[in-house]
Symmetry: C2
Subunit: 218 residues, 2 copies
Amino acid sequence: MFTLAEENYLKTIYHLQQNVGVEVSTNAIAEKLETKASSVTDMVQKLADKQVLSYVKYKGTTLTEKGNEIAVNIIRKHRLWEVFLVEKLHYSWDEVHEIAEQLEHIKSESLIDRLEEFLGFPKVDPHGDPIPDQNGQFKKVEKQLLSQLAKGQKGICVGMKESERNFLRYLDKRSIAIEAEITVISKEDFDDSMQIEVNGNRFFISKKIAENLYVKIF
Amino acid sequence: MFTLAEENYLKTIYHLQQNVGVEVSTNAIAEKLETKASSVTDMVQKLADKQVLSYVKYKGTTLTEKGNEIAVNIIRKHRLWEVFLVEKLHYSWDEVHEIAEQLEHIKSESLIDRLEEFLGFPKVDPHGDPIPDQNGQFKKVEKQLLSQLAKGQKGICVGMKESERNFLRYLDKRSIAIEAEITVISKEDFDDSMQIEVNGNRFFISKKIAENLYVKIF
DNA sequence: AAATATATTTAGACCAGACTAAAAAAATGA
DNA sequence: TCATTTTTTTAGTCTGGTCTAAATATATTT
Ligand SMILES: [Mn+2]
Ligand SMILES: [Mn+2]
Ligand SMILES: [Mn+2]
Ligand SMILES: [Mn+2]
C-alpha cells in the first residue's frame, strides 16, 4: 500500500503537526527527514495525489483523516515494538528507537495486535509516550517539563525530551526512571536549578536537567 | 551494507546451491525470485563486484565464503523470527513465513542474539529446519521423505516440504506435527499409499502426502 | 514600494532495481 | 556438422526516490 519512504513522510508530518500549528512547511519536513526541500516537494505532491494529505503550493501540507490514521498506526507499531525490546529483550531506553524505526514498517494484518496482547496491552512506551489502540485512540499524556513545576509540586516521571546516553546514565545513577515520583523541594530563581526528592533521596539538579524531564501532575 | 534486494538474492542462491550442484544458473535464480533473467544478470554482476559471489558469464554463480556467511545469517534471522511468531505470538506454521521474510532484514548488531536468548536457544524452526548459531554453525537435519520409509520403519516428523494451508490443516486433523512419531504399518506397491500410525491412531495416507512430510530416522 | 532575503518549486540528472526486445552464446539433435 | 532451440547477456527504458542548480513566489527590510 505505502512504501517505507511514504510511511516515514506521513509519520514525520504527523509529528510536526502536533508540535507546531496547522500547516507543515516543506523545509520543516526536509529538516526532520534530513533530506532536501526539493525531494519533499516531489513526495508531498505524490502523497496529495494519494489523498493522504492536502497540499497547497507555497503554503504547506496537512494530513487528511486517512493520512492521520496511517501515521497513528505507524506510531502504534513503533511504540509497541519499543516496549517489546525493553521488556522482553532487556534493551535500555536509549537503544530501542533505531530498531523500532525499522520494525514499525513490517506489514501484517495481525502481527501488531498479537504483539500488543503478548505485551499485556501496555499504555505507554519506554519513553512515556502513549500507545494508540487498534482504533488509533489514545489519551494524550499531560506531560510538562519538570522545570515548569513550582516548589512543593509533585510529578510522576513520564518521559525524557532527549535520550542521549550520558543523560540517561545520569538519571539511572539517581534512580530517576519512568514512573518515579519527583517532588520539588526548592527552586533557585537566579539559575533555575532545583532541589528534588526521588525515592526518599534529595539532590540538586540544574536547569538543563529539569528541562529534559517530562512529568505528569496528578 | 547490503540492500533488501541483495540479501534476497544471496539467500536464494544459497538455497539453490544446496539443492542442486555447484553452479547456480541465472534462470534458476530468476524463477525462484519470480523475476526476469536479465534482472538476475544485472544483480549477479553487482554482487560479484562486491565479492560475495563468483560469476562466470554463461556459466553461473557460486557464493564466496563471505556470501555464504551473509546468507546463513539471514536464514538464522528468518528462522528465529519464525520461532518467535509461533511460540510467543501463537501463529501456526503456515502463517509465519511471509512475516519472517520481512523480519529477516531488520538490521541490528545485537537484536537477533537477544531474541535467540529470549527464545531459549531453539535448535529448529517451526518447520523443522535447523537454526544456525551466532557463528553460522548448524547440524544439517538428516531428514528424508516419509515416502522413502519401508514397512516397519519409524521416524520423527521434522518438517514439511510444502506448507500450503490445506495440507497443514489435513495434518492437524490427524495430529501429525513436528516431533510426532510416525510408524509405517504397511505400504502398497501399486499406488505407493501407506498405512501409518501416529499417537496410537492408524490411517491411510496417499503417496502425495507421504512425499510432503520429512522425517528423521533414529 | 522597491530591494533584498528566504522559502519553495521546477527542471534535469542520477542510482537501484526492475522490465522488454534483441543479440549472442551454449546446448541439442537431425 | 550444421541448423534449431534454449539460455544468457546486452541495450535501452521505466519507476521511485533522491540530488543540484535555476527559477519563482513569499517575506522582510529599507
Ligand atoms: Mn522511538
Ligand atoms: Mn518511544
Ligand atoms: Mn520460512
Ligand atoms: Mn521455516
